[in-house]
């Protein structure tokens, strides 16, 4: 027989046998590792819990604890669960053991990506204002996930000074990263409003502003829901960029007051259907029936979403349900469909009736 074939046979047989052994060992090892991790996690959880209940920090902390990611997870779990005095106690434990510094060291760029990511992931939950500078350097990390975690860490420690830099970076990254950055800034709450407004105003003054991130900033201002953002959102609603108008209309649903009613009444006649669809929702959310006629007219809009949203807005306005019931009996089947849908969802249709006849 050909020696080559015999060699190949030997190699494949050897490889098969090796893989069998490797798989068996890996599975056994994995099982033991998981068991060991479970035991350690339980130990750390009970140890931190006991320290917390007694209110006493360990006099001679074991250095191994501070190095162990499982201990970080246990401390982070407690830190997220407790508030007030207890949280300050957990913070002091983190400080005493130097956990934050260890994580900051591991998040440096000389470490592999997985080490950095794991470290910064824990740091998000354990960071204190003392780690602000380190987190600020991490928002320039080459790995997007590390950057996102760093932004979340800064948001949690309330570093409003970093907002404009974060948004500048958001203009250079992919949309998903910018969206997660915006999510993180929402977590910062009302403190982020002023810096975001300032950044948006500055960006708008540029010849070539970042359209996407300004729109995203508009949306995040809406999600924070602070009335201070209303003037800038109204300005965005009046801009010549459809994406900004859509974002502003969406945001005014949460951040709008009486001041926004007139601009939104204009916006429901916008050429872009997305603006109409969002603006009508915002008007509905304000529960101001001044524009009820105009909203009712949108039941015949050529876009499905605008019709649906207009019907949805009417369910929130005084007298709106009657308008929808009237639309049900009307000759416009599109309006009747939208009315029927929203009346069904809102539960306003108490009686069961057949679908309107269609041609």
């Amino acid at each position: 027989m050909d020696a080559t074939i015999v060699s190949i046979l030997a190699v494949t047989a050897g490889l098969t046998a090796s893989l069998v052994v490797v798989l068996a060992v890996v599975k056994l090892f994995h099982r033991e590792i998981e068991r060991y991790r479970g035991v350690r996690t339980a130990y750390y959880t009970s140890a931190v819990g006991e320290m917390l209940s007694r209110g006493v920090l360990p006099s001679r902390p074991r250095q191994g604890w501070a190095e162990d990611p499982l201990f970080h997870d246990a401390v982070a779990d407690y830190r997220l669960m407790v508030t007030g005095e207890d949280r300050r106690f957990v913070d002091s434990l983190v400080d005493k053991l130097g956990i934050g510094d260890i994580l900051v060291t591991r998040a440096r760029r000389r470490f592999p990506r997985s080490t950095r990511l794991r470290a910064v992931s824990s740091l998000v939950d354990l960071a204190t204002p003392a780690h602000t500078a380190a987190l600020q350097t991490m928002i320039d990390d080459p790995n997007p996930h590390v950057r996102v975690h760093a932004v979340r860490g800064l948001a949690r420690v309330g570093d409003t000074g970093a907002v404009s830099h974060i948004l500048d970076i958001a203009t250079r990254v992919k949309p998903w990263e910018a969206a997660r950055t915006a999510d993180a800034l929402v977590e910062m709450g009302a403190d982020a409003v002023e810096p975001v407004i300032n950044w948006v105003e500055h960006e708008r003054s540029k010849a070539f502003p970042s359209v996407d991130v300004v729109a995203l900033s508009g949306r995040l201002l809406g999600l924070i829901g602070d009335e201070r953002a209303e003037p800038v959102l109204i300005a965005l609603l009046g801009s010549d960029r459809p994406d900004w108008r859509v974002a502003a209309a969406s945001a005014l649903e949460h951040a709008g007051t009486d001041m926004s009613v007139e601009p939104l009444r204009v916006a429901i006649h916008d050429d872009d259907w997305r603006v109409r669809a969002r603006a009508v929702v915002a008007l509905g959310a304000m529960a101001d029936d001044v524009a009820i006629e105009e909203i009712a007219q949108l039941l015949t809009d050529r876009q499905w979403w605008v019709r649906q949203n207009a019907a949805g807005a009417l369910t929130q306005l005084p007298g709106g349900t009657d308008r929808l019931k009237a639309a049900l009996e009307g000759s416009d089947h599109f309006a009747a469909d939208a009315a029927l849908n929203q009346l069904t969802i809102s539960g306003a249709l108490s009686e069961r009736r057949p679908l309107p006849s269609r041609t």
Binding site: M1, T16, L19, L23, L117, R118, R180, D183, V186, L223
Partner: protein, 468 residues
Amino acid sequence: MHTFLAVSSLVVLVYYLAYQVTMLVFTVGSAAVLGKERMIARYGRIEDMLTSDLAPPVSIVVAAYNESAGIVEAITSMSMVSYPRFEIVVANDGSTDDTLDRLIDAFDMFPVPYPVRTNIDTAPVRQVYKSRKPIALTVVDKENGGKGDALNVAINTARYPYVMATDADVIIDGKALVHAMRLVAEDRDRVVAVGGNIRPLNGATVTHGHVVEAGVPKSLIERYQLLEYVRAFVATRPFWSAINALPLVSGAFSLYKRDAVVDAGGFASGHMGEDIDLTMRIHRHYRNAKIPYKIMYSPSAIVWTEVPTTRAVLRRQRIRWHRGLMTAVRDFRSSIFNPRHGAVGMLSWPTMVFFEFVAPVVELLGYVLIPIAMLVGAVDPMQVLVLFVIALFVGTITSLFALLLDERYGYFNDPRETLQLLTICFVENLGLRQMTVWWRVRAMHRGRQDKAWGNMERRGVRTIAKAG
């Protein structure tokens, strides 16, 4: 005659070896992709997306036909999926059992005059039901029209820009949707579809609609399928996904941009492989329109499905699958080695055609020709045997490697389960594989005769999995 037999035997052996080596190459490629994916799944904190108001909402669409045994558990499981905003739309495709009644009773459904859009043409809708319970559930009762048609009705009814099509007999892992949507969120302009990781539910422990522990099933047939699923979903698809060449987004968990499905014409009615058909049509649509797109696979989006427990049911399933593939091969023959269709046309679709569709014929030929060739002395029996054993070893290496990759999930670490898995890697070649080869050849022989809905006997989650 001797020469013909000798050459034929050699061709079959080389083909078989090439098939196994190709699978091994895909497995190695998948290993690299899974490493990165694992890191992000563990430390990327994607669960933060759950509290995000910027996460796009999703409609979970389900087609149900005579799913009485497991429909309530499946919908209960779906309702517990972790995601900020989603709805469930079930299309009852004219079931002849009490599927609809069970849904009405379990979720307190009441009939509503709900308007259904007509983006995709479908069989007539009889009635729409909404739930009085605090669950965003809509049930659409419709005339029988096949699985694809039922899914199209559900998509027409869906309110949200992304639809997740799934089967009525699956249990969706709590984080599956958020893992799949992470890929969408990372590239919303281009990602039009995401497939999930389908795993056999048989042998698993289920508590309150969730799989709390995976387990190796009892029978050889189920274990064989477990190995097949691991090879397909852990060892092959990550690689295809990385090069944007996924030829199939499995129907048990497929997330689509709603517009992409509508643009591609929706699911094909009366097609036995409606998932492969839609995936390929989406590829073709975007390639022909020269629009950048991605069809991706998320190994972390896990869905548990009941696999056949008896030979008869498995036979029916495999025949149905192979007929679906056969129709797809006919419909998309222009994609084979078509450079305009990118990696799908040049790599994955030819692989599907030559190593999935044609394989049973070549393999069966081998089982007939090679013994004859050996008997008449056209080939050296020892040499043939050695080549055959080498091919088997390469196949086993692929399976073992796939199981090693599967270790990322931490399943089956009990020593007895490990032994069972190791055994099936070798035993599958001693009859089980040949059995499916025969069924697939029969599927090709009888052509496209059956209806689109497979008549798989469902035993229900309570029976198939252990209660926790």
